[in-house]
Amino acid sequence: MGRNSRRQPSPSIHRQRTLRVLGTDISLLEAVRFKAISDLGFNIEFEVLDFPNCQRKAALNPEAYDVYDQCFHNLAIVWFWGALQPIDTAWLSNWSKVSALTKSGGVGKYASRGFGDAPMHKLYVQPDHSLGPEETRHIAMLPTVHNFDSFGYDTRVFNTDGNERESWAMLFDPRAQGKLALVDEPAIGLFDVALAAEAIGVLRFENIGNMSPAEIGALFKFLRDKRKEGFVLRCWRTGEQAAKLFRDGDVVIQSMWSPAYNELGSATAVVKEAVPAEGYRAWHGGLSIARHVTGPRLRMACEYMDWWLSGWAGAVMARRGYYMSVPSTVMDYLSAAEWSYWYDGQEASEDLTGVDNETIVVRRGARRSGGSYLERARRIALWNTVMDEHNYAARAWTRFVSSVNGKLR
């Protein structure tokens, strides 16, 4: 013991046993944190940022966190900044239960793989330290929550007869003029626009998941023209912001994330989650470990990751409309009514509550848009993707968003 140790109190046990998790409000809920602390016996801190800021911090400041809770598509950024370390799957007792969607790219042999970067392309650490689908012992990210997203629309404005086909083209339907919002993340919102432009028939991409600079140029010209016509009202970064836009009646159609449907208040009755004819825009979340983490903290990180797959957290996520990579354990923590609504796409046999176990988020008799997990997972149009031209597209996107949101400031 050095002399200093007396004057400078050594870190408390509590502090030594703290795991720091950086992520977004998709999965970092207080309820999850409290339960994990009580189950695992060490302290856990969450730092919750929006997508772009979370990704930037993860890439540039890996010392600031131990576990990174984000989406597979941004491994294309964070992994290649050298911020993360390979995870030995032998340390994860639930690894073998992880579903085929991430391991082999689809829920079944004939299920649509979708365009863009499916998680399997970023799953395994290859011998040259790059990421690829060839199975190895080490992974870059443990697959956890995921979903198949579309957009939400006001049924008083669209599809009033109940027979109209739902298509991404609706985003730029004349009825949406001035009442459209998009999610502000270039690897996500850009694709909502691209799917719409292709559905309308004004643009055609050779590979919508990996556009050329010319195609990106054409897409932004389309988007700027639409903005000039007054289409795009706002670009949002959190589900909460999206929910508010519907609640306040500011928009009639927009990109949507599943938990936001639970927060619509009086708008719940009129807002519908679309099942686009072209398919969903899929995404997959997961957990990674920062490069610097070693020793006891590394074991804590692995315990925490395994805990995520053990069912309790997956049940909370299900009540937000998210699926887990290991559905079998989630089943143990959901009521039969919950399982059959959220995963099986059946009519709710009773009113279902949300994450707080109080607020009713699903009324008896309701049926989840798009049907069961397998039905939805078979209809992937593309995955959220960091394209080869991401740097180019992301900068154009940022300029576009500030031209839209700039008017607000």
Partner: protein, 329 residues
């Protein structure tokens, strides 16, 4: 950033000392062009220097092109010699400042580095007059510099004669690597016996005996330079070598810029170069060419990955007034 060296004063000082010492004889014709060539500078500072020497009455105008050494009124007939062959003495400090590198080269390096650093942030326009003002150089130097950048494929000219830079796209990186894969392994084969095996052996020795604690990690860019200089550029086909050189220029410039922004370096690349050098040293040139081709395929992927991750670096850090972002809105 701005250069405080007054180059015309250096040129004047160099000429003055040689006039005083008599190395430049009375009546010798002094022409801007040859002096600029000798001093490796543009004509503008030479013009200014000659005006100073005229004011000092060390030289004078006559009814031909240029100036004559000596006071006006001296009746010596014009003497014409190649100034480069007169063995001028140029004091060390002036030589160091002037002789070693031409003015355009000094400016060129700074412009190239500024341009390479910006092209990942989008499309920029280069304002010629701002560039000249910024470095305090003439339009001639500006044009030399921009002409060279153009020739090297780093900048382009629009139909309205504006100089533009970037954006550096994944598409262009992929295409340039495709060209590298087509040309470089073949150039290595052609180089064959002309490869400088001794230099390659030295590089290998240097890396084998490297002490990372003292010397730091190996620099893959240096190894790549060795590969080019000692192997690939030895191919007996100057046209091919020029194509390879030009094709690589923007890739290398961008790579340097990304490293300066703090992007992580590729640690695997070093071992790949060493493997390649081993094959070359063993004169297994065909095997080396195949290995090089595979190495370039992997390198292309790594470069594309590297280009994506720069997206988290927010606004363009340009820092020079002559580069302005071209907004498409």
């Amino acid at each position: 950033m701005r250069k405080s060296i007054k180059r015309y004063e250096l040129v004047a000082a160099a000429l003055r000392s040689n006039i005083v010492s008599g190395r430049l004889e009375t009546g010798l014709v002094l022409l801007e062009g040859p002096i600029a060539g000798l001093m490796k500078t543009s004509r503008a500072p030479v013009q200014a220097a000659l005006r100073i020497l005229e004011e000092e009455k060390l030289i004078h105008r006559f009814d031909g092109r240029g100036y004559l050494v000596g006071r006006a009124g001296t009746s010596a007939a014009p003497v014409r010699h190649d100034i480069g062959k007169l063995g001028l003495r140029i004091p060390n400090e002036i030589d160091a400042a002037l002789q070693n590198r031409g003015l355009w080269e000094v400016v060129y390096e700074e412009v190239e580095s500024a341009v390479a650093a910006c092209l990942i942030f989008g499309e920029f326009r280069i304002i010629e007059s701002e560039l000249g003002d910024y470095y305090g150089v003439s339009r001639t130097v500006v044009r030399d510099v921009l002409g060279r950048l153009h020739e090297r494929g780093i900048i382009a000219k629009t139909s309205s004669s504006h100089w533009i830079v970037g954006p550096l796209t994944a598409e262009s990186v992929r295409e340039r690597f495709q060209v590298r894969r087509l040309l470089e392994p073949e150039a290595l084969r052609l180089a064959g016996d002309r490869i400088d095996l001794e230099k390659i052996a030295q590089s290998l020795e240097r890396e084998r005996t490297r002490n990372p604690a003292k010397q730091g990690a190996a620099d893959w860019m240096r190894l790549e330079r060795d590969l080019m200089e000692f192997c690939i550029f030895r191919a007996p086909n100057q046209h091919l070598v020029e194509l390879i050189r030009h094709n690589q220029m923007p890739l290398a410039a961008a790579s340097r810029a990304l490293t300066r922004l703090g992007l992580p370096e590729d640690e695997i690349a070093v071992s790949e170069y060493l493997m390649l050098f081993e094959l070359i040293a063993a004169r297994a040139i065909d095997a080396a060419a195949i290995y090089l081709s595979n190495h370039l395929t992997a390198l292309a992927e790594k470069n594309l990955a590297r280009l994506k991750i720069v997206a988290v670096i927010g606004e363009a850090q340009v820092g020079v007034p002559y580069l302005t972002l071209r907004e498409s809105d």
